[in-house]
């Protein structure tokens, strides 16, 4: 009995000990790498040391173009800042991690940025679900976080360290409803939204509320699941209700397919959507089917503003003639608002930096004039663009003020 007990204990302790030591070994390896990178950064007292900021985004995965565009915008802003002498002579450096579109990864990536890389501020994410997973880490550590394009209301409610430079979902829904009712003179709207994406659900809800307030009527309401291939059933129902506008607040990954099937089923009314449409891919997938449809966005490349023209020419020279999308512009703006705050704060500590970001007023950004309100959200206008022209792309149509 004693002998057997001892054997069991020995075996189990071997197993457990091994497990624990592998974990310890693995994490110590990561820890050592971090320690090395920490050691490589000179102490804060040295005034000319670079300022490190962090960015986390989906650089791989289904929404990879979101993270990549944002990253390009941020890098452009940093390049410009460093070329003009940095912040009080200190250069800015970017640490960037991939989230794969997974909240668990977002949480770990930001923990790494904040705790190991000791960044002074964090930029990211595009998708609201991921921003929500990472924001508590920044809040707890006292590091300001600016989300370039998470439009869900909850994100900035996590705490006083969390900001955003885009408009929020209620406003985007309102802008779409206003455009549908005032510019398109529509009274009957149909909605088709992605029940899996919170962004899509919220937008549909806000659109319906605003549209009905303006005297319109939502005559059909259908849902799909992101990644579906066949929308015939939903669209047949929608066609039967004869809408004057079809509101599809989904992501570009699905909207292209939807547009093709909409036209195939003989629905001729214009489609209307949110900033989730904003990708080069949309025109490529849908082609003619998407022509004459509208979506609300943060900016339009052909907008007649000086800021926009400058940004586009700089972006094109940096990235081989590519036209920046809204997310690139927002990434650029988020970084610039952060740099502006750093210059005013004269410090990179969490508290003064936070206060400086909160005090941002009438900042002339690419995506409009930005004022940070008391909820740490951006007050700014939305732009409605139309898909048209050759090559097919978003063209400026109208501006909707808050």
């Amino acid at each position: 009995m004693v002998g057997r007990l001892a054997t069991v204990v020995r075996r189990l302790s071997l197993g457990l000990g091994l497990a624990a030591s592998v974990v310890a070994g693995g994490v110590v390896a990561i820890g050592a790498a971090n320690a090395a990178s920490e050691a490589a950064q000179p102490a804060k007292a040295e005034s000319k040391a670079p300022i490190v900021i962090g960015h986390y985004g989906s650089l791989t995965g289904a929404e990879a173009t979101f993270g990549q565009s944002t990253s390009e915008g941020i890098r452009l802003a940093i390049k410009e800042l460093n070329a003009s002498g940095g912040i009080d002579g200190r250069m800015v450096e970017l640490k960037e991690y991939d989230t794969k579109g997974d909240p668990k990864e977002a949480n770990l990536a930001v923990t790494r940025l904040v705790k190991s890389d000791k960044v002074v501020a964090v930029l990211g994410e595009v998708a609201s679900g991921l921003s929500l997973a990472a924001a508590p880490v920044c809040q707890k550590a006292g590091v300001p976080m600016i989300s370039p394009s998470s439009t869900n209301v909850r994100v900035t409610k996590v705490g006083d360290m969390i900001f955003r430079v885009c408009f929020i979902d209620p406003f985007q829904g309102l802008a779409c409803a206003k455009f549908a009712s005032e510019n398109l003179k529509a009274t009957k709207a149909a909605m088709l939204y992605d029940q899996k994406a919170p962004y899509s659900v919220d937008l549909a809800k806000e659109f319906k509320k605003a549209f009905e307030k303006m005297g319109g009527k939502v005559v059909a309401e259908q849902t799909y699941s992101g990644g579906d291939g066949d929308f015939t059933a939903q669209l047949t129902n929608i066609a039967a209700s004869k809408p004057e506008v079809l509101f599809v607040p989904g992501y570009y990954t699905d909207v292209g397919n939807i547009a093709l099937q909409v036209r195939k089923l003989g629905i001729t009314c214009p489609m209307l959507g949110g900033d989730g449409w904003d990708s080069e891919q949309l025109g490529k997938t849908a082609g003619k089917a998407i022509e004459g449809s509208f979506y609300s966005n943060h900016y339009a490349p052909d907008q007649p503003d000086e800021q926009v023209k400058q940004f586009i020419s700089k972006y094109q020279s940096a990235y081989g003639g590519k036209t920046p999308d809204g997310l690139a512009a927002l990434g650029y703006d988020a970084a610039n608002i952060l740099f502006d705050a750093m210059k005013r704060a004269k410090s990179t500590d969490g508290k003064p930096l936070r206060d400086a970001i909160a005090a941002t007023k009438d900042f002339k950004a690419v995506t409009g004039t930005i004022t940070i309100d008391q909820n740490r959200d951006a007050k700014k206008s939305a732009v409605i663009v139309e898909m048209k022209g050759d090559p097919l792309g978003p063209k400026f149509k109208a501006r909707v003020e808050p």
Partner: protein, 390 residues
């Protein structure tokens, strides 16, 4: 059972007490030691980021150990494990979150995320609560409830479907995971306001307000290294005991040859359901702990991607080898983090390493054996051990 100990303490220690000591007290005590070591020695030593990696590693290990009971011991191919994980996560999170929300003091002026996590001494260390305060106990209770609900679901799903074999079972379990995911997207929006919560009636809870597609956020972060690794150790002990028990032998015999097992009097369906229920319950417990690590949980947790992640742990560890799947789960959870510096190429390198491991060790790290069978000083004794090899 040898007579040594009985001679030593003939009357002082009845067999029930001895069984209790050996079966419960000893494992729990060593699990507690591992938990405390992880919390107070390893955690501070490795720093905050590696510590949060270690937290997720713990969750992965639990998932791997639980799935191993079905896919490993019993040889059934279940690919809906994430469904049970998600059910446990949602149930546990629901209990903890709404209990915490109803207890928030609006006058405290704290940020909601912080106020919600009051009562977690190990996480916030606000000096107000001594070791193991109410929030953590609530988490454990919620996790056990979550595990029980998942186990119950495992029974309901398992009873009809485990009469199926191979591909058919895989399809049914896959379907279960996807159904869970879709059902979770249909839950109502989360309630963030205390007064709004107080105004709800029982009928509002028929479809629970768990965030739907938006995901369930602001879950109190009560789970610390201590609790996660405590449960990891308890689960490993549990899985080991199950494997050594008569149930375990029956499960292994089903894996080796169903017809032979049946001819020996093993009730195949009953044992398969038993394995399924155990695995589901443990996955539910792991899910609830995961929800308490400061995460946003989304219906996608129930999707097949997460199920496959766990299957990879089990296959690479060696079907049925506890130490193998534990090791595989640890390595494969740390790997993506350790490869972060490679940025976009990270997932390619990860996949290449998976392929490489499969080529080098096609039966998994340890095959069907345990690690101590490879230990030099236990090898001599192997003759007396009953090893079931395929």
């Amino acid at each position: 059972m040898s007579g040594e100990l009985q001679q030593l303490v003939p009357t002082m220690m009845p067999s029930a007490a001895r069984a209790l000591l050996k079966g419960v007290a000893l494992p729990v005590a060593s699990a507690l030691v591992l938990g405390l070591v992880m919390q107070f020695v390893v955690g501070p030593a490795i720093g905050a980021y590696p510590a949060s990696v270690a937290l997720q590693v713990g969750i992965s290990v639990m998932l791997a150990v639980s799935l191993n009971i079905v896919n490993g011991y019993t040889g059934q191919f279940s690919i809906g494990h994430a469904g049970f994980f998600a059910v446990g996560a949602y149930v546990g999170a629901g209990i903890s979150y709404y209990a915490a929300l109803s207890g928030i003091d609006p006058a405290s002026g704290q940020q909601p995320s912080q106020a919600l996590s009051n009562g977690a001494w190990l996480v916030w260390n606000d000096g107000q609560n001594f070791l193991f305060s109410y929030g953590e106990w609530r988490m454990i209770l919620a996790s056990i409830v979550g595990g029980c609900v998942a186990a119950g679901l495992g029974y309901i799903v398992g009873l009809p479907s485990l009469r199926l074999r191979g591909d058919y079972l895989a399809i049914v379990t896959l379907g279960f995971g996807e159904i869970t995911r879709v059902l979770l997207t249909q839950t109502k929006p989360q309630i963030f306001d205390r007064d709004e919560l107080a105004a709800t009636h029982a009928k509002d809870w028929v479809i629970p307000p768990m965030g739907g597609a938006t995901g369930f956020s602001d879950i109190p972060a009560y789970a610390s290294l201590m609790w996660v690794w405590f449960f990891v150790a308890v689960m490993i002990f549990f899985a080991y005991r199950v494997k050594q028990s008569s149930t375990g032998r029956a499960l292994l015999s089903i894996r080796e040859d169903e017809i032979a097992a049946r001819s020996m009097g093993v009730n195949i369906t009953k044992y398969k359901v038993r394995a399924f229920v155990l695995a589901a319950g443990l996955a539910g417990l792991a899910g609830s702990l995961y929800a308490h690590t400061g995460q946003v949980i989304r219906p996608q947790e129930a999707g097949f991607q997460r199920s496959f992640e766990v299957i990879i742990f089990v296959v690479l560890g060696g079907m049925g080898s506890i130490s193998g799947v534990v090791l595989a789960a640890i390595i494969l959870s740390i790997l993506p983090e350790a490869l972060r510096d490679l940025s976009e190429y990270r997932l390619i390198v990860y996949a290449l390493l998976l392929i490489l491991m499969m080529i080098v060790r096609p039966k998994g790290l340890f095959g069907v054996r345990e690690i101590w069978e490879f230990w030099p000083f236990t090898r001599a004794k192997k003759s007396e051990k009953k090893v079931i090899t395929p």
